[in-house]
Point group: C2
Chain length 120, copies 2
DNA sequence: TCGTAACGACTACAAACGTAGTCAATTGGG
DNA sequence: CCCAATTGACTACGTTTGTAGTCGTTACGA
């Protein structure tokens, strides 16, 4: 299940707001990305073909919702990314994130809690 | 500076082994990826065009070396990835990594050390 | 009631990507 | 000394991706 960056923008709107139509998707990404409604429909169509979205008729239009869970997709993508960029090692990735944008105090707290869990 | 996944394989070999020619690159990724030497040369050519590699004549051939630092590229890619997939939050990413492949004990130790640093 | 706007289905099209092939020059090994 | 193998330069080509356009239909607002 290959999702391109542009398609991911659509998925993100639908994960946040499942069961909406193409024009609502357009509203959902307003200001973020300004795509022509046809562009959005093309991307949505491709996602449906790929099986990443399910459709549900609503009058003469369709409503869409993700067929895959956001968390599942994130997990797979994260693994792929770490494998490709860091040879599978997570620590260097976190180090870079810490360096480049500064993890927020909240992030750091989250990570600490996470490590506590992992050590058990 | 946009580097595709296939090109990244080349870059990885050159980051590990700067100043080699196309056939050495082929050797460098043997077994990992089995590309035709022409494919490798095409990818290398594209990287040179993009300014990601510098060339140095060596007899009737060229030696190549990265024009950008691995760490710099990793950092930029990591930031982009986290922004696109996780809305910029690093903690969920690490949580997924922990869940999906199990961080090694070594990873966990590294992360702990890192957090110690960050809290200062 | 009538036309304009929105919808789905289909088509378009250039750039990027992955994966090589051709050609002409050159050089190292037998 | 000569030929097969290697090299750089250029070309090829199908697929994917980003970004829309066209067409025929339909439904709502004036």
């Amino acid at each position: 299940m290959q999702i391109t960056p542009a398609e991911l923008e659509i998925m993100n709107v639908l994960w946040d707001n499942p069961g909406i139509g193409a024009s609502e998707i357009a509203d959902g990404l307003k200001d973020d990305k300004s795509w022509n409604i046809r562009t959005i429909k093309t991307l949505v169509g491709r996602l449906v073909e790929k099986g990443a979205l399910t459709t549900e008729p609503d009058g003469r239009r369709y409503l869409y919702r993700p067929a895959i869970k956001r968390g599942d997709y994130q997990k797979k993508a994260a693994k792929q990314f770490v494998d490709r960029m860091f040879g599978g090692r997570a620590a260097p990735l976190v180090a870079h994130l810490a360096d480049s944008r500064g993890l927020t105090p909240e992030d750091i707290a989250d990570l600490e809690a996470l490590l506590g869990e992992l050590k058990k």
